[in-house]
């Protein structure tokens, strides 16, 4: 066993872990940041966009140094139904001025950069090491074991992602259930920067974020996404695991079908696939949240289930970064009081409630349940696309006023008017 004892061992050099390591090392603490991948980011993937606010308050103007791809100027939501498609398209050029609202990025490069910032502050980064177990002393977590090596610390931060083995070994997290997670698959598709800007109507290096709902998931709960990077597109699908459990569609086929969808095909045409990746997304919010601290241990980022999916907004990285920040602050407070028990670390939970993760997850507590409604993924995309098609069609038939078109379309769809009114009301309140 090593003689040295670290002030903190952080498992996982993703955004949560590297942020915590950066802040603790900056305070002069001896910090070990352990990553199972050969380099930070080499095991990580996400859809494609980070909201800036959380990182900007830790590393001001981070976009001047960080390997980000494009600031997002356009938000597009597209309803898919065979040859029909309806999009809501919002462009706001204030989003692409400092302090840039959000950026598309690629994790291999970005996470590597963030970990290097922690290293610059003095954190020790150890890559290619898989943490196998925790060390306990009288029920309190006191270190980690990786293969034959054992390392001790005052506190462990479990930032090891959605499949958090560390939080499970600590007895803080239970194995998630299939309805609590979604499977995301993604293809990175290479195109020239000019082609990307032209196809998405973007000025210069501005970016677009496009979400899709409808037949790309064959009626299953989930959706498609497309983010523009500098010279690649990140295209993918996210489908609830409990749906994949029952279906006879292969998700690996669905993403190929998605590229062939008439609304997507012209956007990716001529591109070259340069990577295919998959990852789980914790989607159940507070319902799946582990205990956030135990004696000698904190849980942050995806490991804590800190993701919010509202259908039109998907947040994970800003939560991860802010939870790493809160964890670092809690560790500093615990050091001051020389108390690393659950009680001594409980500032972590307080901070998360104030600012802003638990506050936001609480506000949208019923969102995941509402989005479990299958009408969102089949009947409503059909209703919207067919109605819009009628509104724009001129074919010599007798005129019908807008209200008549709406009423006849609702009648034709399998959704009753009361159900539609109820869902609209709920959606507006819960999302």
């Amino acid at each position: 066993m090593s003689e040295d004892k670290f002030a903190a061992i952080i498992v996982g050099a993703g955004p949560a872990g590297s942020t915590a390591a950066y802040l603790l090392a900056r305070e002069g603490l001896e910090v070990l940041l352990i990553e199972k991948g050969a380099t930070p980011g080499s095991k990580n993937m996400f859809g494609g966009r980070m909201y800036s606010h959380a990182l900007n308050r830790i590393i001001p103007n981070f976009w001047e140094y960080a390997p980000v791809e494009r600031p997002v100027a356009r938000e597009i939501i597209t309803f898919l139904n065979g040859g029909h498609g309806v999009s809501i398209d919002c462009q706001n050029l204030n989003w692409v001025k400092p302090p840039y609202h959000s950026f598309t990025l690629l994790r291999a490069e970005f996470d590597d950069w963030l970990a290097s910032k922690a290293e610059e502050e003095g954190a020790m980064l150890a890559c290619g090491i898989r943490v196998d177990d925790l060390l306990f002393d009288k029920g309190r977590v006191v270190g980690i074991r990786a293969g034959e090596d054992e390392m001790l610390a005052d506190v462990i931060i479990a930032a090891d992602g959605v499949n958090s083995i560390v939080a499970q070994k600590a007895g803080l997290a239970k194995m998630f259930l299939p309805h609590q997670v979604a499977t995301g698959v993604k293809q990175v598709i290479k195109l020239s920067p000019e082609t990307i800007s032209q196809r998405f109507g973007l000025d210069g290096n501005n970016g677009a974020a496009q979400l899709f709902v409808g037949d790309c998931t064959e009626g299953m709960q989930g959706g498609g996404f497309l983010y523009t990077n500098k010279s690649t597109l990140s295209l993918g699908l996210v489908i609830k695991a409990s749906e994949l459990q029952k279906t006879k569609y292969k998700i690996s086929d669905l993403i190929e079908d998605f590229k062939d969808n008439p609304q997507v095909k012209p956007l990716v045409e001529g591109g070259e696939v340069v990577e295919y990746s998959a990852h789980l997304v914790p989607e159940a919010g507070l319902e799946m949240m582990p205990q956030l601290c135990g004696d000698g241990i904190l849980v942050a980022g995806d490991a804590a289930g800190f993701v919010l999916n509202l259908g039109f907004i998907v947040r994970g990285m800003d939560f991860a970064i802010a939870s790493g920040e809160a964890a670092a602050k809690a560790v500093m407070a615990a050091r001051k009081n020389k108390n690393f028990t659950r009680q001594g670390l409980s500032l972590y939970v307080q901070l998360l409630k104030q600012d802003f993760i638990l506050r936001d997850l609480e506000a949208y507590r019923k969102g995941p349940d509402f989005l479990g409604n299958r009408r969102m993924f089949k009947e409503y995309p059909q209703l919207v696309t067919e109605l819009a098609s009628k509104v724009f069609t001129v074919d010599g038939t007798p005129p019908v006023h807008l209200l008549g078109k709406i009423l006849s379309q609702v009648k034709e769809s399998r959704v009753g008017p009361f159900q539609l009114a109820g869902d609209s009301w709920k959606g507006a309140r819960l999302l």
């Binding site: 993937m45 299939p178 598709i189």
Partner: protein
């Protein structure tokens, strides 16, 4: 775009396959009792295949997402799941 097979897609990725240790071990005798075998559909890398009615699984090509662990009706008994040893497995160059 031309349709790609899953083998072609995985062929694009960079893997450091651990020849000495499989990170996922499937207990096929338990799978034999499973009616729906959802792993044969849900795995994004399509690594769980049916051969003569039996599950066959190849851990090389695993994207390490954990979907099989989430959807297997008998996960605790049928699957021994961990990440590959440090440095091994998939190596995302984009992510």
């Amino acid at each position: 775009m031309k349709r790609l097979t899953i083998e072609q897609l995985l062929g694009i990725n960079k893997f450091a396959v651990d020849d000495d240790q499989a990170h996922i071990i499937v207990k096929k005798e338990i799978c034999a009792l499973c009616l729906n075998k959802p792993c044969t559909f849900a795995c994004p890398a399509n690594l769980y295949k049916l051969k003569d009615g039996q599950i066959s699984f190849d851990y090389a090509g695993c994207l390490e997402c954990g979907t099989c662990r989430a959807i297997c009706p008998q996960a605790t008994a049928a699957l021994s799941w961990q990440y590959p040893r440090g440095g091994f497995g998939v190596n995302f160059r984009y992510g």
